[in-house]
């Protein structure tokens, strides 16, 4: 067994100098903070760094919090700890090769990301999708929404100190993951949709298995809302915490459950329908206060609505071909193209600028999480530091999507 001293002898010296980077004199604020020093003599202000390696930041977000006692004064997020240069890489890969990179943005909504990119290509080349292909897309995207929300729900409980939800949430999520695996061989980074449909047809067992899932899920959702969402601790820690006004939500460009929790009725599936969402009956749940509780309730209700969509889709699932294009590469005519979808986390946009070649000249992902994180300071200021963790959890952030 080695000691620290021996480690030092054998290896490099410890990197403790890096600490000096963070040392500040009393009069300068750390990067990004704006509020003037407090006038109140009693105020005990100090700065706390959370992350990038921290279990509650869902990955590698780093936030620096300015606290007065235990109350949050200001929060400054620092990004880039998982920046992977996907947009630069995209410029050297063909459109079909880019699909696999889109998986890795927001890996919990990989199918939606695939879909958005494929839709932009389809729009540029006027490619249609056969009916079965559209149904596959819709069913899978809704399943994805379910599994993503289940994960969110599990981790939400964990962030409030209840480990139980984590195990429950993952129990049903595994069922959905198994479906994905049977479909395309991958559980997470799926690389499944193609312009004109999907890469392979669904197996015969697919629809029966979705039906089985639909039998289980309503009961499970009831159980879950009894388990956590009526729990007094949960209510105390979410009601009237982290209120986002509708005007602020719009001005920051936040989307998804964050926007709808603030009462603004915008869901791309409903307001700008893509694929075949316009043929289905579902409601868009809305919050009224815009607090953490509303965001949670919106997501819980969205799961129920996804089940509704799935039920209709499974009942009408057509036969026929699943794609209209062979596996091939595409050249997009010169110009710019934009498509958007509603991922489990909000509005994802793909903006392609093409110079007429087989590779995009510029490919920009409009990431929902990027704009959703931007509201963090608005939400957390004035609350306790423990509430900051819950608020981050109700924003449902996936950091690699922010950093791209």
């Amino acid at each position: 067994m080695l000691t620290a001293a021996e480690t030092e002898k054998n290896g490099k010296k410890m990197i403790t100098e890096s600490l000096s980077e963070y040392s500040l004199d009393a009069n300068t604020l750390p990067e990004g903070f704006r509020l003037p020093p407090p006038e109140d003599e009693e105020a005990e202000e100090f700065f706390v760094n959370i992350g990038p390696q921290h279990p509650s930041t869902h990955g590698v977000l780093r936030v620096v919090v300015r606290l007065n006692g235990e109350t949050v004064v200001e929060v400054v997020p620092h990004l880039g700890y998982i920046h992977r240069s996907i947009e630069k890489m995209a410029e050297n890969q063909t459109y079909v090769q880019n699909i696999h990179l889109s998986d890795r943005l927001d890996y919990l909504s990989a199918f939606s990301n695939n879909l958005c990119l494929c839709m932009a290509v389809e729009q540029a080349l006027d490619i249609g999708v056969p009916e079965r292909g559209e149904y596959i897309r819709l069913i899978i995207c809704e399943l994805q929404r379910l599994q993503s929300h289940l994960l969110w729900w599990g981790v939400l409980g964990m962030d409030m100190g209840a480990f139980t939800t984590f195990f429950y949430g993952f129990r049903e999520r595994e069922l959905i993951n198994d479906l994905f695996e049977e479909l395309c061989g991958a559980r997470l980074t799926v690389n499944y949709f193609r312009p004109g449909g999907s890469s392979v047809d669904v197996p015969e067992t697919f629809i029966p298995r979705v039906k089985h899932l639909l039998n289980i899920m309503p009961k499970v959702l009831d159980e879950y809302s009894n388990l956590l969402n009526k729990n007094i601790i949960f209510l105390e820690r979410t009601k009237n915490i982290g209120i986002l006004s509708p005007e602020k939500a719009l001005s920051y460009g936040s989307t998804g459950a964050v926007l709808r929790g603030s009462g603004i009725n915008y869901d791309v599936r409903k307001n700008d329908p893509y694929s075949i969402y316009d043929q289905f009956d579902f409601d868009v749940p809305l919050g009224s206060v815009g607090d953490s509780y509303d965001r949670c309730q919106v997501r819980m209700e969205e799961m129920a609505q996804s089940l509704r969509i799935l039920e209709q889709a499974v009942a009408r699932f057509p036969s026929g071909p699943h794609r209209s294009q062979p596996q091939q590469n595409y050249k997009l005519p010169k110009g710019s193209y934009y498509s958007q979808v509603e991922t489990p986390r909000g509005l994802l946009g793909v903006y392609i600028v093409s110079d007429g070649g087989a590779k995009p000249y510029r490919l920009k992902y409009r990431s929902p999480n990027f704009s959703n994180l931007n509201v963090l300071n608005e939400l957390a200021a004035g609350h306790k530091v423990a509430d900051l963790i819950t608020i981050m959890s109700t924003l449902d952030l996936v950091i690699p999507d922010i950093d791209r």
Binding site: Y81, Y338, Y351
Partner: protein, 418 residues
Amino acid sequence: MGISSSGASVLVRQAGELIEQAPGGIKLVDAVELVVAWGRANSVWPLVYATSCCAIEMMSTIAAKHDLARFGYEVMRASVRQADMIILAGTINEKMAKNLVTLYEQMPAPKYIIAMGSCAISGGPFYYDSYYVIKGGDRLVPVDVYIPGCPPRPEALIQGILQLQEKIKKEGRRNPWKVRETLQVPFEDIFSKAQAEWASREKQRDEESREAREQFKRENAASPASKPVRVKKEEFPVVPSRKPAAQGISNWTLLQMLQEKFPAIEVYSHPGITPKQVAELGPDYILDLVVPSEQYRNFAEYVRNEQSLGLDMLIQLTCVDWKDSFDIVVQMLSCRDGHKLFFRSRAEKDPATGDAEIATISDLYLGAEWHEREVYDFFGVRFRNNADLRRIFLENDFPGYPLRKDYDDPTRVVKRPY
């Protein structure tokens, strides 16, 4: 776990050495060591260190179905000072690298690293073309077990953990845990090298199988030729594309309203087009306007304040590098009615430095501030009066602006060979 060099353990070591010298004592010490190794192998405490996609599979491994607790690994620690193993689950980039090394050095020895997934092994999908991803965790910290996959399945992670257990069980006084060196190899285009090797191997295999086939034919001259297998050809239906229904205010009306106020604006890539002709571009065409840069801010302000336009949300603000100038593209959406409007302004490049400047709109849209910071970070376009124009993703001392077309940094980037 983690035996320190405190007085007690020195005593234990000395006692062990004494017993070892006694007749038959060596067997006793061996037996004790076996028990200790078994205990150590089954009680490793991993650090919660999850950076990206692979982390989700790590969570699945801990969760109900795969249940990592069966192997004594469930005590995930949030502080590295209480842990003795890091599972590198996900990509590591330059900004994170320093943190990872610090974490490793803070961990009490003996300590272990599992590289989970191809990113942690070699940079994986981000090996080529990425200017920011570290090409393998073992360039930073010594890795004990590599688990291939993108992401590896939970079973693979469990397999990797069992491998680590085997490794720990083999440690003892004859084979103590040691600090190992990190990998120090330059990165290069491994694909082209490997491709050449595969090609030569393939050629050799082709030759062998041709010989085998001929031999088979010679020996079985009488047998009938086998029927060729026919694969059913897939038919691709001709499907008309679905045109989304027009939402909200039509492009025609939008253009009319805006041109009244700003006569200098044009439709992008359709110069001189009239509102009527815009209507002919179809309902799925998104109006894309070119605004003279001196009017850019006023235009944005007008769009925000004019309620009848209904454009209440900024989708994003981004930039396109046209080699001699930048286009700042602003994309607006009406949550109320559903129509969209894009507009762009040119920011001329300074021929010497390639930098450019344009007015900010971050005071009009709160969300624009971060978008502008992103554009500044990637393209080096400065936004006049943006209150907080710092780099957003990259470190402050990162050289160059990576999304510019002329960006090239051979110390970071391996060019994709295909």
